[in-house]
């Protein structure tokens, strides 16, 4: 009876601790609702969802890179570059290509910028952090120098219209609650990325590359081409987030977004993605982003000054990652004793081939765990 019980627990826990994350989230919401009844309202829920829209889209892009074992810090620069250039272009020509046109234009720009990242990284085999650091400066500087630095309070008509469109408009006792319409496409986008990661060859190859690049190469994955596409899709996702950000803030400010990269990466890591690659899921990432947003929101309601926010996120990150690190070390110690122990491990079969031993095959993680 015991193994099935732990099996069920393991299933609930999820392959990347999504279950734990969801539990923390629920506990936090329950605790907050008890502490302050105004927290548990449709108003708060909708505003948290609204504030999570842009970070979620960013986080999807970061997730893709992190799964392959890389890291991208240029996505915010790509996002604002793509979004701001599109708006500038439309405003200066005085024509409105409509929402599909605007999004397509931004995605094209974002994809090209992502392609630059991808080419440099894949062609010359350089460390991703360093390259994207460099391109971040280039993209940001190029936007200011060649596109412009003016703040636009007026958006093209279609974007302005989208900004005020709400999916739900509920009148509750505590005032009216709006659910922004963009929640739907972002949800669809999440489902799409989840499908790509789980069900397509491209998605599986990302996990394979993150688990062990050399093994993936020898298994016949076209590693360089995939790398290229990863950065192109991150650029495209970032540009979508850029446009959405501009729509939601109802203005195009070139100073926005850049500087918040590390917060997004923190949310993705909280969501269970391994910085070494090979692990991570869309559901965990979304939970991670929402957790950060809930904390942001609840700190204010409990009366904690917003200045504590950064500290709170930092402490959360230390606790989350620290528990993961200690658990991983303990697990590796157990596996050292009984070599075929992972056959009984409830998590072993679930990741698919390359990820099941992703954490142990990775040189840098295993060395972290060897000492103890």
């Amino acid at each position: 009876m015991h193994p099935t019980f732990s099996d069920r627990i393991g299933k609930l826990r999820g392959s990347n601790n999504e279950g734990v994350l969801a539990l923390v989230l629920i506990l936090l919401i329950v605790g907050m609702s008890i502490a302050n009844p105004t927290f548990f309202t449709l108003n708060t829920g909708f505003s948290i969802l609204r504030s999570a829209i842009v970070p979620v889209v960013f986080a999807l892009g970061v997730l893709i890179v992190v799964i392959t074992g890389g890291i991208d810090v240029s996505f915010a620069a790509v996002a604002i570059f793509a979004g701001y250039s599109t708006v500038t272009f439309c405003l200066s020509l005085g024509f409105d290509p409509g929402l599909p046109g605007i999004f397509l234009m931004a995605i094209a720009i974002g994809a090209i910028l992502g392609l630059i990242n991808g080419v440099v990284i894949a062609r010359f085999n350089l460390p991703t952090l360093i390259v994207t650091l460099g391109t971040q400066g280039i993209f940001f500087g190029a936007m200011y120098t060649y596109v412009g630095a003016t703040y636009y309070a007026e958006l093209p008509g279609s974007m302005a219209a989208l900004a005020t469109t709400n999916l739900l408009d509920v009148t509750t006792s505590s005032g009216r609650a709006y659910l922004h319409v963009l929640v739907v496409p972002v949800l669809l986008l999440c489902l799409f990325v989840a499908w790509v990661l789980k069900r397509t060859m491209f998605g599986r190859s990302l996990y394979a590359m993150g688990g062990d690049l050399e093994a993936a190469r020898r298994a016949g994955f076209r590693v360089k081409t995939t790398h290229l596409w990863v950065y192109v899709s991150v650029g495209a996702l970032a540009s979508i987030a850029g446009v959405i950000h501009i729509v939601l803030s109802r203005s195009a400010n070139p100073r926005d977004l850049v500087g918040g990269e590390l917060d997004i990466i923190a949310a993705v890591v909280l969501g269970g993605a391994s910085i070494f690659g090979g692990r991570g899921s869309v559901i965990g990432t979304v939970l991670g982003v929402i957790l950060v947003q809930v904390i942001k929101n609840s700190l204010l309601l409990v009366g904690v000054p917003s200045a504590w926010l950064r500290t709170a996120v930092g402490v959360l990150l230390v606790i989350g990652v620290g528990i993961q690190a200690i658990a991983a070390r303990r697990k590796s110690r157990r596996m050292r004793v009984i070599d075929d122990g992972d056959l009984n491990d409830p998590n072993a079969g679930k990741h698919g081939g390359p990820t099941s031993d992703g954490s142990t095959s990775d040189g840098s993680t295993s060395t972290e765990k060897v000492d103890a």
């Binding site: 500290t311 690190a325 200690i326």
Partner: protein, 399 residues
Amino acid sequence: MSLDSKTPTETPQANVGSVREANNRLGEWTRRFVRRPGVDRGAGRMVIALVLAIALFAFLNPRVFLSPINLQNIAVAAPEIGIIAIAMMVVMLTGGIDLSLVAIANFSAITISTLYTSIAESDPALADSLGIVIVLVGVLVGMLGGAINGFLVSVVGITPILATLATMQIYNGLAIVWTGGSTLYGAPALLSGIGGAAVANIPVLFIIFIVVALLIAVLINRTALGRMIQLEGANPVAAQYSAIPRRWVLLKTYTVAGVLAGLAGALFIARNPTASADYGSSYVLLVIVIAVLGGTNPTGGFASVLGVVLATLTLQVVSSGFTAVRLSSYEYAIAQGVILIAVMVFDSVSTSRIKKPKRSKPSSPTGSSGSSDSSAPSSSSTATSTPSVTSSPASSTRN
């Protein structure tokens, strides 16, 4: 000398390829000249870059760029960035990264400023006479911050980039809470004195920078701890099996970085008697750029203090040169990125080029004896592969 001893055996049958042979040998010589042991990769490259940058801006706008005030500005602005970059380099030597350095520096600056103002409220004379103690407290705070990083990385076992990402948020957040987001004024007279002083027209801040660089160079190249830091970065598994106390080494590494960051915080105040939580937020990424430009291998095991010092100066020269020829700071951001990527690409291309002849050698008749001779110097000069680093750690990091 290995090439000279080889030539007599080759001349009989290698007449056809003698031109190619001579060409190869010339290439080998120039490569060895540029990458002589002692003149390491990062430093050699940065000397050229620095001279080029100075020449370019001296040519474009000699009146502004070469004016004593501008040169002094470069020497005053460089130390604080340079010391943080050296701290980053020390951490990168172990294969880690420390994103929290600037936050630590700001925290230390805020500590110094608050401590001074609170003592000065009751007794201004006492506050100034305690100047050195106050600065030491600031550095101590930095050390504590670094030790917390070290604890998280070594004992808890969190990946450095995540641990320091988190502590960056924490230190920065605490600083915001402490200052309420505003800028603090007030600094010990000792610090502002140092900030304005100069010995033989060289600002004292710059002298401090050089002294710190020398100390760290000695620490890395001449002490057991330094050697262990390098070995840890070059090959953690080998370090483990060599009975190197990895936890202690990592803990000490991050603590040293914290001390340096605390010192940089004191220099923030010395240059400008204000302290705030968000000062130098662009430094976080800039110091990584500097460390990598200076020849630090981001995966660990290889770094050069001299290279980092030169890289700091080069970027500072480019920055002030851009101002001198009236280019915006955004164009400087572009230049920074382009320089970084260009250097990395250049490195990667030149390493792959060196590797190629090694592979083709065995097919030639003299290959069996020649390949082992010629591959040894070339592999030690690439320095991106970890085993080569361990073969010549002392020479590669000499200052």
